[in-house]
């Protein structure tokens, strides 16, 4: 079945975003429930337990865990086999969010104050550590569910992903905090691959396929597909930060306040005249606390003036196209299933969501 047909089927029933929403809801629920099982309600460590359970209970799209489950099921495994790994993904994700929020000095997360805003950085940091280490438990419990060897493979994958994510995060933070002005588009893509795509799409696809195929599929084949999907996802995220409506998770223009090197920023800087570029660099050189609303407004205007938002949108669409191409090659021989359709529908969804 060609991708067009797959998508047509996906949209024939519930709409494409309907299918995605449905599956995210179902698998998200399963992952969430599994995560809850690991929160030991009988041992509510003071200053820790309540912080640890906070972010996971705030909800979220559950895209990463759902992708993992759908991938495993598309390759033939049952929900039970994949749900532990999906839970681990959610725990890791939320732990990383806690740390991200500290690193970005964000005030708000999913409509409520960030954890460190409520409890201070030291305790929030500790809770983030705990949450990430807690993810080891379901990964160890995998031994019973998928066998020792596969459990080890999943752990290996997790280690690789953790390293890539840390390296990616380092790039992003380093560029921002040390004001690297030489960041190119290729650098940006590389950073997004490591920081976002590896964790959000590549890793769930890889471990899902490992579990589903019982180790027969080479996880490496998902690199391209995973990257294109994850990069489009990230670019859309960055776009929403500039143009999204208020229901979106972070503050409007928050990235500009942060000085985050987004595709739009890089593009705008590259398109600027030499004079403007100097202003650009000066504005970005200032530490975050000294960045004013006017500074941000200027950056915003520069971005709009040079059509950077449209540019980034086009790049994201191109990446979606590339993801569709890779999807068609990867999944052609898999039997038809709702999960396969879901994965196909995810590709345009990453851009459609608002």
């Amino acid at each position: 079945m060609s991708l067009a047909e797959t998508l047509a089927t996906a949209t024939a029933g519930p709409t494409s975003s309907g299918l995605v929403g449905e599956v995210l809801e179902e698998y998200g629920q399963a992952a969430r429930a599994t995560v809850e099982r690991y929160f030991d309600a009988d041992n509510r460590s003071p200053y820790l337990h309540d912080l640890v359970v906070d972010y996971p209970r705030r909800g979220g799209k559950m895209m990463r865990s759902s992708l993992c489950i759908a991938q495993a099921r598309a390759y033939g495994a049952s929900l039970e086999k994949a749900v532990l790994t999906a839970a681990a993904i959610e725990m890791l994700h939320n732990g990383l969010l806690i740390h991200d929020d500290i690193q970005d000095a964000s005030q708000e997360r999913r409509g409520r104050p960030t954890l460190h805003a409520m409890h201070g950085v030291p305790l929030a940091l500790n809770a983030g550590d705990m949450l990430m280490l807690l993810a080891l438990r379901p990964l160890m419990d995998n031994v019973d569910e998928v066998g020792g060897w596969l459990a080890i493979e999943v752990l290996r994958e997790t280690e690789i992903m953790a390293r890539e994510s840390a390296e990616g995060q380092a790039l992003e933070l380093g560029w921002r905090d040390l004001n690297d002005t030489t960041v190119t588009e290729a650098d940006y893509l590389r950073m997004v691959l490591k920081k976002t795509a590896w964790f959000s799409t590549i890793y769930p696809a890889r471990v899902g396929a490992l579990i589903g195929s019982r180790g027969r599929v080479d996880p490496g084949v998902f690199m391209h597909f995973g990257f294109f999907l994850g990069a489009a996802f990230q670019i859309q995220d960055d776009l929403l930060n500039l143009v999204g409506d208020e229901s979106y998770g972070k503050e409007r223009n928050g990235d500009l306040y942060e000085g985050k090197r987004t595709l739009m920023l890089i593009h705008a800087r590259g398109a600027c005249s030499a004079a403007d570029r100097a202003i650009f660099d000066a504005l970005l050189a200032a530490p975050r606390e000294r960045r004013t609303a006017e500074d941000v407004a200027w950056l915003r205007a520069a971005i709009e003036r040079h059509g950077s938002i449209d540019y980034a949108r086009k790049v994201a669409e191109a990446l979606v196209g590339a993801a569709e191409f890779e999807y068609a090659r990867l999944y052609a021989d898999l039997p038809e299933s709702r999960d396969k359709r879901f994965i196909a529908a995810l590709i345009p969804w990453v851009l459609e969501r608002s």
Partner: protein
């Protein structure tokens, strides 16, 4: 002769032959970027440049990952270098060798471990120690003290005792035997059987046989009380 359009033609079959490959190929792609033509939409330039850049980035990352894996593993170059297809096959072969090797070992072990099977093999070899008419004799069945078993058989009749332990017996903390039974209903079970640990780690087997115990062959399984795994069999033949 019929004209082509008058004749019916066979439909082509689904495929020309059987699919013999055991491992279905989840088609790994070499994933080389399609040149500009692929993404065909307005803003082709932007799109194709971005996609090309993206392909280069991910390919680099894959290479990086491989080199890191080699360094971390400390071994030589990964089995099949360049093409992901060959590497995938090498990986699968490795898994299968492991699976098959392990399963074949399971086959041998499973068979050898079955107490009934061990009993058969041992019966075929007929350890012949001669009748034991009186109180006790110390019989070392294997070199290590942990494996040595002292027999104390109390019986007026000639008796032949065979203990066939599995290696697990040496490690078992709590071996036990639950009585010895014969096949014939006319022969009542021998209940006074006990297996205890000696201070030096060996075992002592104590059997008491009643004067009127019928001549027959009695069997019992040795079980480890904690793990409930069979660890050997005990056979007692009363010769007259």
């Amino acid at each position: 002769m019929a004209r082509d359009d008058e004749r019916l033609h066979r439909p082509p079959p689904q495929r020309p032959g059987p699919r013999r490959a055991v491992i279905p190929e989840a088609e790994g792609v070499n994933g080389r970027a399609v040149d500009s033509g692929g993404q065909g939409s307005a803003g082709d330039d932007v799109a194709s440049r971005a996609v090309n850049a993206a392909y280069r980035v991910v390919e680099d990352n894959i290479q990086e990952g491989r080199r890191a894996a080699e360094r971390l593993r400390g071994a030589g170059p990964a089995p099949a270098e360049a093409s992901p297809g060959a590497r995938a096959i090498a990986g699968r072969l490795m898994h299968l060798t492991r699976d098959l090797g392990g399963t074949w070992v399971d086959l041998i072990l499973a068979v050898l471990k079955e107490p009934e099977v061990r009993a058969v093999i041992d019966r075929l070899t007929l350890h012949d120690r001669g009748p034991v008419a009186s109180m006790s004799s110390a019989v070392a069945l294997a070199p290590s003290p942990a494996m040595s078993v002292t027999q104390r058989v109390s019986s007026r009749k000639p008796v032949e005792v065979t203990l066939s332990p599995l290696p697990a017996l040496a490690r078992s903390v709590a071996p036990a035997v639950a009585g010895l039974h014969a096949l014939s209903p006319a022969s009542p079970p021998i209940d006074q059987v006990a297996l205890t640990r000696r201070p030096d780690g060996g075992l002592e087997l104590a059997i008491t046989i009643a004067d009127d115990q019928p001549a027959d062959t009695y069997w019992g399984a040795l079980v480890d009380v904690d793990s409930r795994q069979p660890i050997g069999t005990l056979t007692v033949r009363i010769l007259e």
